[in-house]
Subunit: 270 residues, 3 copies
C-alpha cells in the first residue's frame, strides 16, 4: 500500500505550538503518515489567500493525498466542519470557501458534514478545531476509513466568490491576486483568458504608471530595474523585475488593479 500523505495549510504561523499539536494528533492515530507543510503563513483569517495557495499546490501531490486546511475565522461558531472529496484528493477543514478553487479544478465528488465524534479528539475546544477535529479526521481518513462514515452528505457547501477578470470593450481588467516572496505580482488573469483576449494583436499592460508592451518567456529576458510581464509557473499573468522586486518598485499591494488594452483602445499613458 502507498504510504499515506497528509498536507497542512494554515494561518497558524510556525512560532506557536499549534501546527505541532496537529501533527502530534495525526501521528498518534497513524504513525505511518508522511506529513508535508504547504504553508502556515497565510495572513491571519484570510480565507481567500488560503484558497489560492492551496489551489496552487494540491495537484502536485500524489493522488489520494489528504489536504488539511485551516484558515478558520468562524471556529466554534455555526460554520460546519467538512470533508470534501474531489476526483483525486481529499480535503478536510472548515466550510467557509477555503476549498473553492481546488474543488473547481479537480471536480467535486462529494462533501461530507463531519459529525461523527468518534473520529474527533475526546474533548473539543471552541477555538482549535484544527487539532481537535480536522487533524484526527485526516488521520482516520489516512487509515482508509470510508469518507461516508464521518457524517452525512451535504448538498450545499460554501463557495468563495472570487472576482474574475472583466472584459469591457477593448480592455481587460484584472487585479493582483498574490504577491510572492520575490515581489512577483501574480494577477487573476489566467493564461488562456489573456491569449483569448489579445488574439495576436499588439497589446499594452498597464500597472500603475508603467506600460508593458510584450510578454517575456522567462525572468532572464527582462532588463534590470524594468518591470516585465510573463506567464508565471501557476499559469497566471505575472509582473516581475529581473533580479529585483516588482512589488517594491511599483508600490503594489494585493487587490490592486491591472489593465490590458488592445489596439485603438490603448490609453494615453498620462
Amino acid at each position: 500500500m502507498r504510504k499515506p500523505i497528509i498536507t497542512l495549510l494554515t494561518d497558524f504561523g510556525t512560532k506557536d505550538h499549534y501546527v505541532a499539536s496537529m501533527k502530534g494528533v495525526i501521528l498518534s492515530i497513524n504513525p505511518q503518515c508522511t506529513l508535508v507543510d504547504i504553508t502556515h503563513e497565510v495572513h491571519p483569517q484570510d480565507v481567500q489567500e488560503g484558497a489560492i495557495l492551496l489551489a496552487n499546490a494540491f495537484s502536485y501531490f500524489p493522488k489520494g493525498t489528504i489536504h488539511v486546511a485551516v484558515v478558520d475565522p468562524g471556529v466554534g461558531g455555526r460554520r460546519k466542519p467538512i470533508l470534501l472529496q474531489t476526483k483525486n484528493y481529499l480535503f478536510v477543514g472548515p466550510d467557509n470557501g477555503l476549498f473553492t478553487l481546488a474543488a473547481k479544478r479537480d471536480g467535486v465528488k462529494q462533501v461530507i458534514h463531519l459529525t461523527h465524534r468518534k473520529y474527533f479528539l475526546p474533548d473539543i475546544s471552541n477555538t482549535f478545531h484544527g487539532r481537535d477535529i480536522f487533524a484526527p479526521v485526516a488521520a482516520h481518513l489516512s487509515l482508509a476509513i470510508n469518507p461516508r462514515r464521518f457524517g452525512n452528505k451535504l448538498d450545499h457547501w460554501v463557495k468563495l466568490s472570487l472576482k474574475e477578470p472583466e472584459v469591457k470593450g477593448k480592455n481587460l481588467y484584472g487585479k493582483i491576486l498574490l504577491i510572492d516572496r520575490f515581489g512577483n505580482l501574480i494577477t487573476n488573469i489566467e493564461k488562456e483568458i489573456f491569449f483569448r483576449f489579445i488574439k495576436d494583436q499588439p497589446f499594452q499592460i498597464r500597472v500603475r504608471e508603467k506600460i508593458i508592451r510584450d510578454l517575456k518567456r522567462g525572468y532572464d529576458e527582462g532588463k534590470k530595474n524594468d518591470p516585465m510581464a510573463l506567464i508565471g509557473s501557476g499559469g497566471f499573468l505575472e509582473i516581475s523585475v529581473r533580479e529585483g522586486n516588482a512589488q517594491e518598485m511599483l508600490k503594489m499591494k494585493r487587490g490592486d488593479p491591472i489593465k490590458i488594452s488592445t489596439k485603438s483602445q490603448i490609453p494615453n499613458p498620462k
Copy 2:
C-alpha cells in the same frame, strides 16, 4: 515496532543551517525516525518561552516520542546535558529549566546526566551541543537504547520558578504568559484556578483600561474590535479580539499584568 518520532524545539530560527545539521545527525544514526518541528522561533535564549511552548505541544504526540529541546544560553559552560524521562515521554536538552512544565504535567521518572561520550558526535564544539550531543543522544534513544546507559542518575535538576497567579483578597493577579501569531494574549491563569476563584459570582477582568465582564465560549461570540475573554485551547484564560489582534489593540506585551476581581472588590475603572 512503532516508528520512532523525534520532535525538535529550539531558538535557532530556520534561516541558518543549525536545525538541518541536527536533523542530518539524527538521520545518520537512525534513518527510520520521523522528525517533527515543534518550533524554532523561540525568542533567542528565552528558556521560559521554550518551556511553555514545549508544555503546550508535547502531550499530543504518541507515547514514547523523544522531544529534543535546545534553548541553551549556557552552552559550553557548566550547565549539564540531560535526558529526562517522564511517565510517557523522553526529553533531551540542557539542564536549565526548559523541561520544568512538561515534567510537572507528565510526572518525572528519572533524570540522567548525559556523560557517555560514545553516544555523542566524535568532536564536541563548545557552541553547538544541539548538533554534537542532543541530536545524537536522541537518535540513539530512538534505537531503543536504555536511558540508563547514557550516564548516571541525577537527584537534582534545574527547575524554572514560573510566577503563578496570586490571590489577594477578592483579586486574582495574573500576567500575560505568551502572545500568539493572532495577537491572542494567553495568561498564566489556568481554567481551574479561574473558576475556583470566581465561584459563579459576577466578575471583572481588567487588562489595561479595558473591563471584561463575561467569558465567551469561542471567538465567534465576540464583537469585532472589542476584546473578549475566553478559555483558550491550552486551558488558560485568554484575551482575544474577534477577527482582530488583541496585542495590538490593547498594546500589551509578554509579562504585562491582568487582574480579575469579584463582587465588592470590583475596582472603579477610573
Copy 3:
C-alpha cells in the same frame, strides 16, 4: 535498503506554495523519500549565501543523501541544470556556483548536464525549474537511477570566486560571511588559517572600533555586552556577544571587514 533522503535548500521562503509543490512532485515519483528542509530563507537570488549554508549542512547527512538546491536568478535562461556527484553525496540544481563550497569540501566525482527530459515534468515552465526539473530529477535519483542516465558529463562547471582572507604583512584581512539568527558574526577566516597566522603570538582582532585580544572557547566565557571572539561550530572565526547580539551591538552587515594583527603591527585603535 536505506531509506532515501532528499534535502531542499532554496530562496523561496515558506509563505508561498513553491516548496510544497517541489515536495509534492518528489513524493509523486518516490513516496518513500524522507524530505528535510535545510533552509528556504536564503536572501532572494543570493547564490553565495546559499552556497555557504549548503556547505555548512550537507556533510551531517547520511552518505548518499541527495541535496536539491535552488537559488536560481538565471532560471529559464542559458545556465545549465546539473547533477553534481561528490565522493559521498549527490547535488541537483542550477549550474551557477551554488555547489562550489560543498564540492570543494567533499571532492567532485562527476558533473552531469541534465538533458534527459524523461526525468523532468512533462511541461517545463521558464520560471520554476525547482518544481519542473530539479525535484523530479532528485526523486528519480532516489530510485537509484544511475547519474549517467540523466545526461552527458560536463568538463566545465561554474564556480563561485569567494573572496578568501588575505595576509598583508602582519595583518590578516577577512570579512563577515554570514550573520546568524543570534547576531553572531561568522567570518570567512577558517580555524586553520587563523592559528597558522597568529602562530601563538599575541594578537588583536579589530571589528569596527572594538579590539579583542583573546579567543574564548564558548559563549559562556564572554562578558555580557562585550563582544568576544571564538571558533564557531562551523570552524570559522566568529564574533559574538554573550546572551546578546553582536550584529546589533557592532552595527555590522555581511561583507563588512575584520582585521587581525600580530605583534608590532598592532594598530593604534584610533
